[in-house]
Structures are given as structure tokens and as C-alpha cells.
């Protein structure tokens, strides 16, 4: 299994500001994933983060809005930039181990 922690667990932010979400895994992984779950919706992949290279973004997501860092094999951050109320979602970090995908507890973001 994989133990994943995220910080913060929740936050309320003002529009126009930015929030950085941290994801820590209990052991080294090659790829880390960031998902978004909008209210009442399913999960959508934002990007895949490999250590030492630029993140790969899915259609509809751009680096300027969701910059990602991956400084080592156990840690990643996702920043939600210039926030608007439409960014209110749960953001989840995920890793794959032994062909199984594990998810962090999520960060619940509310933008006013």
C-alpha cells in the first residue's frame, strides 16, 4: 500500500489569490498524479508529475493555472493560481504502486 498525506486538508481563499497544496508519500514513487473533484462530480486528472521533468497536463489544464513541482521522489506540490469560485473543488494527490492507484485524503478548497 501507500500512505499519502496532503496539506492543507481544507482552506477557504479569496478570489485572485493562489494556494499551494502539498503531497507527501511514505516511500519513493516514479509518478505522482493530481486530480480534481468538483462539487458533486467525478474525478478528473489534472496532470502527471515525474521527478526531474516538467509535468504533463491533461486537456483543459495549463501550467500557468496549475503549476506543479516535483523536487524528489516522495513529494509534490500543486498550486492553484489566480483562483476563482469555479476552482472550488477537492484536489487529490495519487500514486501508483504495484499497478494499484492510491489516493491521498484530498484538499477541500473553497474560493469566495
Amino acid at each position: 500500500s501507500a500512505v499519502i498525506s496532503q496539506k492543507p486538508s481544507r482552506d477557504i481563499c479569496q478570489r485572485g489569490t493562489s494556494l499551494t497544496i502539498q503531497c507527501q508519500v511514505d516511500s519513493q514513487v516514479t509518478m505522482m498524479f493530481w486530480y480534481r473533484q468538483q462539487p458533486g462530480q467525478s474525478l478528473t486528472l489534472i496532470a502527471t508529475a515525474n521527478q526531474g521533468s516538467e509535468a504533463t497536463y491533461e486537456s483543459g489544464f495549463v501550467i500557468d493555472k496549475f503549476p506543479i513541482s516535483r523536487p524528489n521522489l516522495t513529494f509534490s506540490t500543486l498550486t492553484v493560481s489566480n483562483m476563482s469560485p469555479e476552482d472550488s473543488s477537492i484536489y487529490l494527490c495519487s500514486v501508483v504502486r504495484d499497478n494499484e492507484q492510491f489516493f491521498g485524503p484530498g484538499t477541500r478548497l473553497t474560493v469566495l
Binding site: S42, L43, E58, Q101, F103, G104
Partner: protein, 113 residues
């Protein structure tokens, strides 16, 4: 393009009744299939997965799912539902060589006492 369809947005069952949640996928090759559960305020927990082999897979919490290639389905079942099973259930598919998960819209399960 790969996709996952969960036709039932919301299902209500009585405690002790049987349960079947439907999942249909669209994928060209043999899919890797998953069922996750998300309880209120909780993260996602893997219930079971199918990669190959026996098409009837057993998972945690008494759940099972059957892969039917001819119907492109991977329905989740439980013979007797408990009140604690009330949650959101997500079916997901992953390509064999790429770790991106594509999720269905989810089915919200309510359990009546």
C-alpha cells in the same frame, strides 16, 4: 476514446437487500478496471480491481464484481448491504501501459434501515 459510464446516479436500497451497481466501459484493448468507494468526508478507497484471469473478482467489505467482455461491463455486487455502505461508488478504467485513471460519474448509494 476511453470512457466509463455509470448509468445510475443515485440508488437507494434497504439494509440487508442485495446490491448491484452498473459500470460500462469503452476501451479498445483489455482494460484494467477498478471500483472505488468514497465515504462522506473520506478519501477514495479501492474496493477491488480486475486485470486478467478469473472474471469474478472479490474485494473488501464483501463486495465482488464481474468482468463481462461481451457486454463491456464491470458491475459491482454485494449480497447484503449494511448501513455503513452508504457512500459514493466510482468505477474506473486504466490503460495497461499508462497510469491515468478515467472515472465514471459515480453512483451515490443510500441505505434505508
Amino acid at each position: 476514446a476511453q470512457s466509463v459510464t455509470q448509468p445510475d446516479i443515485h440508488i437507494t436500497v434497504s439494509e440487508g437487500a442485495s446490491l448491484e451497481l452498473r459500470c460500462n466501459y469503452s476501451y479498445g484493448a483489455t482494460p484494467y478496471l477498478f471500483w472505488y468507494v468514497q465515504s462522506p468526508g473520506q478519501g477514495l478507497q479501492l474496493l477491488l480491481k480486475y486485470f486478467s484471469g478469473d472474471t469474478l473478482v472479490q474485494g473488501i467489505k464483501g463486495f465482488e464484481a464481474e468482468f463481462k467482455r461481451s457486454q463491456s461491463s464491470f458491475n459491482l455486487r454485494k449480497p447484503s448491504v449494511h448501513w455503513s455502505d452508504a457512500a459514493e461508488y466510482f468505477c474506473a478504467v486504466k490503460s495497461g501501459g499508462y497510469n491515468k485513471l478515467i472515472f465514471g460519474a459515480g453512483t451515490r448509494l443510500a441505505v434505508h434501515p
